[in-house]
């Protein structure tokens, strides 16, 4: 019964008394307990989830229920939920109990959402396979020999497996959209500033956004409706209210100008994926859209820019894990304060995290700052300018979400650079603060392929509206 239920249908079902919160929650919870061994999508289950669901049910009976009362969702384990472990899939935070709620959690709680558990991820969101986890790799429910993508692989996996109707993830360079693509679901990264980052454990602060993993674009819109808006705890949050979020409708393609970014369907992209994207966009014309190829020349720099800026910010953001106030502390005796730092961090961080800290320290260090970090900052502006120019002509830009099919488990370990380069399509939206959504458009060799739609900053509602239209009218038939 829970298979592929959407948030929208769950709310309707509760209100029409087709099923109860306790019933739905119990089934989801039981399914996770029975089946998640196969996928390892959760790190921690919320021990009071069932109790909270009963409270929600009582509210329906008393007619005091909130708008999303009793909707169960998964939360990536780098978003803080008070009194529950928040590990970031790292040994260094393996005992860290959240002392406060992230702003998005507070807001969802206030409309009745219940949090079923914390999902697996690449350590501190560094990775694109969910293999870099202290708690072991997550597997792709479509085919367990493959990775679910990352870093929000646990969130994608639990939605794809039907453990929850929706989950929150975080997206710094594609960490919501790419796993959505790999698992055949919808992954949405909002415009930078639309959702508060307060309570999201920082990786690359100028790039991070909380996003959603859902079955439909409409579900993404429902969740973001209650999470968005300026937060006095986050200076980078915005009070701009995008159109078509508060009263969501699907938006047809009539007279829409759509550009396909040429650089993302070229020689570096799996031909079968490019083919699928082109076939899909061809169908847009039938609905009155104009579709053209467009070029963004600075796109070739985006992976470099990203892998300079994100590690630079991360090297500083991850410096606070020093074993003094919380988290792991080395058990070595007779050490001085400096050794507490070095031993704790040596034990606590995995290899990829250490590597990115070192890269970050390099690009920020004296003598190299201008040539790497500052240059990357400038190139970031160049890329953003080119997007701005494109969006003067086009309503939406299209790319594959990933230029490659899901990796086999273990496949990427020996070629880390190849994994970095595979982020080509998703990184630009983070660098430029744009909203983007990945929707499933079909399969190649039985593995899901996602198409990414990008829009102007704060056109989030239009983006999801069009995404919903495309899913309903074009791509759902192909699945």
């Amino acid at each position: 019964m829970t298979e592929k239920l959407t948030v929208k249908k769950i709310i309707e079902g509760y209100n029409k008394k087709e099923f109860s919160v306790s019933e739905i929650s119990g089934k989801y919870y039981k399914k996770i307990e029975e089946e998640d061994k196969k996928y390892n999508s959760f790190i921690t289950l919320n021990s009071s989830f069932l109790k909270e669901s009963e409270d929600s049910q009582a509210k329906y009976q008393a007619n005091t229920n909130n708008l999303l009362e009793g909707v169960p969702i998964g939360v990536k384990d780098n978003i803080l939920v008070k009194d529950i472990l928040c590990t970031c899939a790292s040994k260094i935070l393996s005992n860290f109990v959240s002392p406060y709620n992230a702003t998005v959690i507070d807001r969802l709680k206030s409309v009745g959402v219940n949090f079923i558990g914390k999902t697996n991820m690449d350590e501190f969101a560094m990775g694109s396979t969910t293999e870099n986890s202290f708690y072991g790799a997550t597997k792709n429910p479509v085919n367990v020999d493959y990775v679910p993508g990352g870093s929000s692989g646990g969130s994608a996996s639990c939605v794809a497996a039907g453990f929850v109707p929706a989950a929150l993830g975080s997206d710094t360079g594609g960490s919501v959209r790419q796993p959505a693509s790999f698992c055949g679901i919808v992954g949405y990264k909002p415009s930078y500033g639309l959702l508060s980052r307060y309570g999201l454990v920082a990786y690359g602060s100028s790039l991070d956004q909380i996003g959603t993993l859902t079955n439909t674009c409409e579900d993404a819109a429902i969740l973001v409706k209650y999470m968005k808006g300026v937060d006095r705890n986050d200076s980078t949050s915005s009070n701009i209210n995008p159109l078509n979020i508060d009263d969501f409708k699907q938006i047809d393609l009539k007279n829409k100008k759509i550009g396909i970014i040429r650089e993302t369907i070229g020689e570096n992209t799996d031909k079968r994926i490019s083919q699928l994207i082109l076939e899909t966009t061809k169908k847009f014309q039938k609905y009155g859209a104009t579709v053209e190829e467009v070029t963004i020349p600075a796109l070739e720099y985006s992976v470099s820019i990203y892998y300079i800026i994100a590690p630079a910010e991360a090297s500083s953001n991850l410096a606070r894990y020093d074993g003094i106030r919380y988290g792991l502390r080395t058990t070595k005796k007779d050490v001085d304060a400096k050794t507490i730092f070095t031993e704790t961090r040596k034990d606590g961080f995995g290899e990829e995290v250490k590597k990115r800290i070192l890269i970050g320290n390099f690009v920020l260090s004296s003598g190299y700052y201008d040539a790497y970090y500052k240059k990357a900052q400038k190139a970031r502006i160049l890329l953003s300018e080119q997007f701005r120019e494109s969006f003067a002509k086009y309503d939406f830009l299209i790319t594959p979400t990933s230029p490659v099919l899901p990796f086999k488990i273990g496949e990427g370990v020996n070629n880390p650079l190849a994994l970095y380069v595979a982020d080509l399509c998703t990184i630009p939206a983070n660098l430029s603060g744009l909203p983007a959504v990945s929707i499933p458009v079909g399969k190649v060799d039985g593995l899901p392929v996602g198409m990414q739609i990008m829009a102007k900053r704060f056109d989030d509602g239009l983006l999801l509206g069009v995404g919903e239209f495309i899913q309903k009218n074009i791509t759902d038939g192909d699945k």
Partner: protein, 590 residues
């Protein structure tokens, strides 16, 4: 750039504050090399003319109102602590806090002594008197239990973000205006990265390339000669926490440290001079003047001993008349005006001695030790940090409007030095009195308040410095006699309602009983008796009782006049107006 690039893997690992095995080290080095080779494609990006930015978005940062609020879930923070001592986070001691001083061999050949001049630059950190911290709403007040004034933000919990305090920005601008800086309409907060137990995020949010104020100067007077000390900048930053060394006193030899983050993120401004100060005395006078300016603006309480004003000095010497700066040392831990003067004098002599012995001066950071009156090596240049400053992506650039700057400009009054000059010239106060007013802006404020109600500056100064001040033992702004009260009191002295002698006792009683001067005068009946009838009756009774003395007086023993006056004053408990007594007495026994 690739041909010049060198990956110093040991340095990078040290900056990351972890350890790796040799094998891992090689792997990391190769991985970074691969990545950098790939990343260098951006060399060809046509973007050199673009302005670098942390975000591709245009938005003004919003600021927080300065309302203090205690965070109510402290136990949630403490329960995650690996080791607690009370409510403090416990850490082992810092080892190697002091460097090893090189031995100076006294028997080296002594070089001909050149004539050296001293070049000093000062960095003064001033706590701003806001109610709440720089980036969170925790109160800034001192004296609470360890970590009582902390929250997730100022203890660097995962996921927290800073939001800038509006009032701290206003205060920094006020300081900049008062010391003649250019106020920059755009400034940027940057992260200064280093590990220390009292620094919860392992970076301090400060300003680096784009501070809030640039340039400026502070005028001082040394031995009657005026000099303008040039400033480089003022920037805003957050303070670190405090470490209380448990087990043994002092920085060295203790067993553990208890970390208290109450001070973490308290707002500071750092006022940086150019290397424009020539003597220890100038340095001291500069800090005294700067303190006076900040205190008179009401933005800093100026307490050196409590650390709300802290001073570091960069010192070098060079042959007189030459232009190139010598190698500098940085002196820290000077906690009084006297310490500033002595530490600089000591350091200059130390440097001259090295020169004399033909030894190089090393660039290093040294600590002033009050008990031995010496500076000690803290860290050498090799140990100096690479702070990896970069713009804080959590804070958008701070932009200021002309309206704000203009409105603050109107709030900056006369400078303490101008006041001093005015008091000397227009009010005839002594140099010493005027300087005390300058150095203690709170005195000047009180003086001027009183002056508005009572127009005799010299009298105010006399009574203030000779009487009032001698009773003030606590903080000046907490003493209870208002300017209004003081002015009324002085008026009563002038009108002979009370004598000078009684006036002094009134002041003493007012302090003893924590009452106003007027209350003492009313309740204790110390008003002078000026009623002639009352005095006449008193005189008559005294003359009656001493008829023999009256006869002696009349027979020529005129000295007895004083006896009668004395008796009358005694009987009236000093309250009879002496002039009235004289007049009537003369009329009676004349």
């Amino acid at each position: 750039m690739s041909d010049k690039r060198h990956i110093d893997i040991d340095k990078l690992i040290n900056l990351g504050s972890f350890e790796v095995s040799n094998e891992e080290k090689k792997q990391f080095e190769a991985g970074i090399e691969d990545f950098l080779k790939y990343a260098e494609v951006i060399n060809s990006a046509p973007c050199n003319d673009l302005q670098p930015a942390s975000h591709a978005i245009q938005k003004d940062a919003f600021l927080r109102d300065d309302n203090a609020k205690i965070w109510e879930h402290m136990e949630g923070l403490l329960k995650n602590a690996p080791i607690l001592e009370g409510t403090s986070f416990l850490v082992p001691p810092q080892k190697g806090r002091t460097g090893k001083e090189k031995e100076v061999q006294e028997n080296l050949s002594i070089k001909e002594v050149e004539d050296y001049e001293t070049v000093i630059g000062l960095e003064v950190h001033a706590h701003l008197k806001t109610h709440s911290k720089l980036f969170c709403s925790c109160p800034t007040e001192f004296g609470n239990a360890p970590n009582a004034n902390t929250c997730p933000v100022c203890t660097g919990q995962p996921g927290v973000l800073p939001v800038l305090n509006k009032e701290s920005v206003n205060m920094a601008i006020l300081a900049g205006i008062a010391v003649n800086c250019k106020i920059n309409k755009k400034s940027v907060f940057a992260r200064k990265n280093y590990f220390y137990p009292d620094l919860p995020k392992a970076y301090q949010i400060s300003q680096f390339e784009e501070p809030i104020c640039s340039g400026g100067w502070v005028e001082i007077e040394v031995d009657g000669v005026s000099k303008k000390i040039k400033l480089n900048r003022i920037h805003m930053e957050e303070d670190a926490g405090k470490m209380v060394h448990v087990g043994a006193p002092g920085i060295w030899g203790s067993k553990a440290s208890a970390v208290d983050y109450n001070r973490s993120s308290v707002p500071l401004i750092e006022i940086v001079t150019e290397p424009d100060i020539s003597t220890a005395k100038e340095a001291k006078e500069y800090v005294i003047m700067l303190r006076a300016i900040l205190v008179s603006l009401g933005i800093c309480d100026g307490n050196l001993e409590e650390g709300s004003l802290r001073c570091d000095a960069n010192i070098s010497i060079r042959p007189r008349g030459t232009k190139t700066l010598g190698v500098k040392t940085e002196i820290k831990n000077m906690n009084s005006f006297k310490a500033i003067e002595r530490a600089i004098d000591f350091e200059v002599e130390r440097q001259k001695k090295l020169k004399k012995l033909g030894l190089p001066i090393e660039q290093e950071t040294r600590l002033w030790d009050e008990s031995s009156q010496k500076t000690f090596l803290m860290r050498s240049k090799e140990e100096s940090h690479d702070y990896r400053y970069f713009p804080d992506p959590d804070l958008l650039p701070l932009t200021l409007t002309d309206e704000l700057i203009d409105s603050l400009r109107k709030k900056v009054g006369e400078s303490p030095l101008d006041k001093k000059r005015k008091y000397q010239k227009d009010y005839n106060l002594t140099e010493e009195e005027s300087k005390l007013m300058m150095v203690n802006p709170e005195y000047a404020n009180y003086f001027e308040e009183t002056l508005k109600l009572y127009n005799n500056p010299k009298n105010i100064a006399n009574w203030f410095f000779n009487e009032i001040l001698s009773y003030i033992t606590q903080e000046f702004d907490k003493f209870h006699i208002t300017a209004d009260d003081f002015a009324s009191f002085l008026k009563k002295i002038d009108s002979n309602e009370i004598s000078g002698k009684i006036g002094k006792s009134v002041i003493r009683k007012a302090f003893d009983n924590k009452k106003s001067l007027m209350e003492i005068i009313e309740t204790e009946g110390v008003k002078q008796i000026t009623d002639t009838k009352e005095i006449e009756n008193l005189i008559d009774s005294i003359l009656n009782a001493n008829q023999d003395k009256v006869a002696e007086y009349k027979s020529g023993k005129v000295k007895l006049f004083g006896f009668f006056v004395g008796e009358i004053m005694k009987q009236s408990k000093g309250k009879a107006n002496p002039q009235v007594v004289n007049d009537i007495l003369k009329g009676k026994i004349g």
